[in-house]
């Protein structure tokens, strides 16, 4: 197996985007391999036999699975530049808590917004906004969740920004109207090359969601 860094990924995945951002922040050269999730490669199945999911980070032939795990691993191995987790122990626990919160809530609620209609969709929209407002509270008046510097929670959350347009179109609402501070934060992050280059185009994401709705027979 080759040395170096390989990322098995799927272009619309917010989870894959986290790892792409972390690798870009650390200026790590890597090989990006696009997976067709309807026809998973032997390498993917071999490297992630338990979940069979992307992203998978392969470093010197050994796999690291789960995006937040990958971000922490990248931060620990390439610890001489662009730190993502804070140095302070308490702040580190706090960063892990909020990244975990994003994992527990944002993906499922966002999915419900584009997959459902009527009461179920309204409930999902409301809870989604409530969660974003909690995150806004945590951000406070800081430039980033990491404080002055872009950090772990920023990496965990910002990939969802390129999915917001699709959620808004499907749910017929404006996230910026409800959470202007969060959108301002996201636009600030997009000015960073590592983020701008890692996130997918929001129009393409919306097209992808429309395609998925057709495939799943959702109106």
């Amino acid at each position: 197996m080759e040395r170096g860094v390989v990322l098995l990924d799927f272009w619309p995945s917010m989870f894959g985007m986290r790892t792409r951002i972390a690798l870009a922040e650390k200026e790590i050269k890597y090989e990006y391999r696009e997976e067709d999730l309807r026809n998973k490669s032997d390498l993917l199945l071999q490297m992630n036999p338990v979940h069979k999911k992307i992203p998978v980070l392969i470093h010197n032939g050994k796999p690291v699975c789960e995006s937040l795990n990958q971000v922490q691993y990248i931060d620990e191995v390439w610890n001489d530049r662009a730190p993502l987790l804070p140095a302070n122990t308490y702040k580190r626990a706090n960063a892990r808590f909020w990244a975990d919160f994003v994992d527990k809530k944002i993906y499922d609620l966002g999915s419900k917004i584009w997959r459902t209609k009527g009461e179920e969709q309204e409930a999902a929209k409301k809870e989604f906004i409530d969660c974003l407002k909690l995150l806004e509270g945590e951000l406070g008046d800081n430039h980033y969740f990491g404080g002055k510097d872009f950090g772990y929670v920023d990496v965990a959350l910002v990939p969802f920004y390129c999915w917001f347009y699709a959620y808004e179109q499907c749910g017929n609402f404006s996230i910026e109207a409800e959470c202007p501070k969060l959108i301002a934060w996201a636009k600030r992050c997009m000015q960073k090359e590592s983020v701008a280059k890692s996130l997918a185009d929001q129009e393409k994401i919306y097209e992808f969601v429309l395609h998925l709705k057709k495939v799943f027979g959702i109106e």
């Binding site: 990958q70 308490y90 580190r92 626990a93 706090n94 892990r96 808590f97």
Partner: protein
């Protein structure tokens, strides 16, 4: 250090609440344990300390804001009391492996264990049991890889993955008892059977591991409540 400088809010039947306590014991840190009887309602202290999830365990360390989520707490304890024995492995790859398996146990395996008790019908029950056994086979293999021939996932001493997995042993034993079967089996998972004994009798664990009989009684009560709620829901 005053005993009350470190507090753990927990609930005795909860596997998650065991984790910070084992970690603090490993580091020889004195702490005050506050037991929440969650089935009677949540205390003001809990709601104030964990407003986001309103769940135990919570670690309160001095006058810092409380820390929530059991595995995040364990990592915090490891880093805050760095002079004690290490809980997470020192190598970044080994750490990633330990985190991966702990997340698998929390997200996939333990929900399968819980569903054995409340599965509707034989088919669903068999499927849940199969998932539990598949997980144990994976963990048997992981033990071989992580322990490198030593007694624990963490090597010579209990580590992060031992704590994450071992905290579920009580409920696994209760599930075995209720369903009259052996899932931790010398034939299929000999390594895990020995590890389970070693873990349960460890000084940092034995006073924190709930007694299986007591847990079984509690389990009966919970299952009855869930079934009743399910029956009531079906009636409307």
């Amino acid at each position: 250090m005053a005993t009350s400088e470190v507090k753990v809010l927990g609930s005795w039947p909860s596997p998650y609440a065991m984790r910070p306590r084992i970690a603090l014991n490993l580091k020889s840190v004195d702490y005050e344990y506050i037991d929440e009887k969650l089935w009677e309602g949540k205390s003001q202290l809990l709601l104030q300390s964990n407003p986001v999830h309103k769940k135990i365990p919570v670690l309160i360390h001095g006058d810092r804001k409380p820390i929530c989520e059991s595995l995040i707490i364990v990592q915090y304890i490891d880093e805050a009391w760095s002079s004690g024995p290490s809980i997470l492995p020192s190598d970044p790859y080994d750490r990633a492996v330990a985190r991966f398996w702990a997340a698998y146990l929390d997200d996939k395996w333990f929900p399968a264990v819980k569903s054995v008790g409340v599965a509707k019908g034989e088919e669903a029950k068999k499927a849940a049991i199969a998932q539990v056994e598949e997980g144990l086979a994976l963990m048997e293999e992981a033990l071989g890889g992580c322990s490198k021939g030593k007694g624990f996932f963490g090597g010579d001493e209990i580590g992060y993955l031992d704590i994450a997995f071992g905290s579920f042993l009580g409920w696994l034993r209760v599930t075995e008892r209720f369903n009259d079967m052996k899932q931790l089996d010398e034939g299929k998972t000999p390594g895990l059977v020995e590890w389970a004994d070693r873990f349960s009798s460890h000084a940092a664990v034995k006073d924190v591991m709930p007694d299986t009989d007591k847990l079984a009684e509690f389990g009966k009560m919970v299952i009855a409540k869930i079934r009743a709620a399910g029956a009531a829901a079906e009636m409307h």
